[in-house]
Amino acid sequence: MIVNENCTIVSQKEIAANIYELILRGELSAEMKEPGQFVHVKVADGHDPLLRRPISIANINHEKKEFTLIYRQEGRGTTLLSTKKESETVDILGPLGHGFPIEETEPGETALLVGGGIGVPPLYELSQQLVSRGVKVIHVLGFQTKEAVFYEDKFMELGQTFVTTVDGTYGTKGFVTDVMKDLSFDTIYSCGPKAMLKAVEANYAADKKVYLSLEERMGCGIGACFACVCHTADDPTGFSYKKVCTDGPVFRAGEVVL
């Protein structure tokens, strides 16, 4: 069920250059189940900014009724969000959308989790849920540069973790795909920039189960405004469509046009 609630900030800290980890407490955490779902955040009261911001759920702690958002301070909305302090509240609508299907990887099989930049956060909750299911996980996390890297140690606790940076200042120099080609696995779950998702789809969708989480500009976030639609792959110029906010944000590779 979708709930609207003023959630209390448990903590907020900058964990990498312009990357913030925000832990919130609220009853709506009870509704959060699938990894890869997101919440719609009203970063300030009033009219500026007016619209909510979609941010993925990075971690769910049902016992403490807490959940974590990890976001990059980008424009006006996320900048305002980053100034919020402990014990203040944030207006959250969620959980929204359909996340990653963990049941597509059987216990004992290996899942490859591929994240790029600010696409990394939802993979953290995903990885934990896969591990509790008995799935072996391997992470390949791509960042621009050393200062942007976050959560490497947390991912390492769950499984083998490779980090790439575009400028080579940390981990392997290059893109996630450079590391992926030497690994063996059964399924891929990926979230990140469109170019990365396209490369993953092009190289692996033919013979592996691949699930991709997409981003699109949103109005409502609940399926009513038709802001976030994409064409389906079997009808790329026709009328059939999927909404990223409700049918996604996670799709099986080959389901929609990237």
Partner: protein, 303 residues
């Protein structure tokens, strides 16, 4: 005492608050959040003869106190709306106002004729004001004679009263309103979105793939109030007002300007419970202001 119940051509409304077209889909999403029977009415997404995919994305861009949209009238087409969406909505005790769009007179007439026969469609809203489609649409909304002729043709075939949705993108809104009244319109709905544009700071390119889009939200409220104020004193048909409504106070302001009911658009995106909250708050606000019934507010600003 029910302070909110009102009657308009074709519409017996429990209260004068309804979601605006295009901001509520066909109700399904909000139906899982609250009981749609609590609404005064529902204005459903624009329907065209054939299905439409609409414009490429990005389709929305934020502005100060508002948003631009260029959805491009995406909808599943008349057949699907008649066979799937309207029957689904029939489970609720709420009148539907069907928003009708097209690119030729024939298109409008075809949709109007068939959709007006659906049992839960109690009125039509002729969308002659969508700024986001290349052909038709906007010409119908900016040239008085064209608007009048279209209204007449639709009136001839419609089984239910016809409201015409006016575009604010004109120099003389009163002239447009009078033209459609002459054409036989039973009511007006206003305003649709204002044509606008935003550019990306880094690239200099338009943010919307369609380049331009329709501005909605709290920022356009003063424009809507002014236009309703001007038009309501020059026509004798009722007005359903919209443009930036977020709370009960806004509703009263629209009534003061001359509206007889209101629709809520963009606010549904910010707070999906906006409509039921407004409906809940209205009686107490009326009480505070000393009104027995909301209809007493209509046109208080006139003279």
């Amino acid at each position: 005492m029910n302070r909110l119940e009102i009657n308009l051509p074709g519409l017996h409304l429990k209260n004068p608050v309804m979601p605006a077209s295009g901001c509520f889909g066909f109700g399904r999403e909000f139906g899982s959040l609250y009981n749609l029977s609590d609404l005064g009415a529902i204005m459903i997404k624009a329907t065209t003869v054939e299905p439409r995919f609409g414009n490429p994305t990005p389709r929305v861009a934020e502005t100060s106190a508002g948003m631009l949209n260029a959805i491009g009238l995406q909808n599943p087409g008349l057949e699907k709306v008649l066979n799937e969406e309207l029957p689904w909505l029939a489970q609720y005790d709420v009148p539907i106002i069907a928003n009708v769009a097209g690119s030729t007179e024939e298109d409008y007439v075809e949709v109007a004729k068939r959709i007006s026969t659906a049992p839960n469609v109690h009125a039509l809203e002729l969308n002659i004001s969508c700024p986001n489609v290349k052909t038709g649409g906007i010409a119908f909304g900016t040239i008085p004679e064209v608007a009048k002729s279209l209204t007449k043709k639709v009136k001839e075939v419609s089984e239910v009263p016809v409201y015409v949705k006016l575009s604010p993108n004109v120099t003389n809104i009163v002239e447009m309103a009078k033209a459609v009244e002459d054409g036989g319109a039973d009511g007006l709905t206003m305003i649709n979105t204002l044509l606008g544009m935003r550019l990306d700071l880094k690239t200099g390119n338009p943010i919307l793939a369609n380049k331009t889009g329709g501005l909605s939200g709290p920022g356009i409220k003063p424009v809507a109030i002014r236009m309703i104020y001007e038009v309501s004193q020059q026509v004798s048909i009722p007005i359903i007002g919209m443009g930036g409504i977020e709370r009960a106070e806004d509703v009263i302001e629209f009534f003061y300007a001359g509206a007889s009911a209101v629709a809520v658009g963009t606010a549904n995106f910010v707070d999906p419970f906006a409509c039921p909250k407004i409906i809940k708050d209205l009686p107490e606000l009326l009480e505070q202001l000393g009104f027995d019934h909301i209809s007493e507010c209509t046109g208080r600003s006139w003279k």
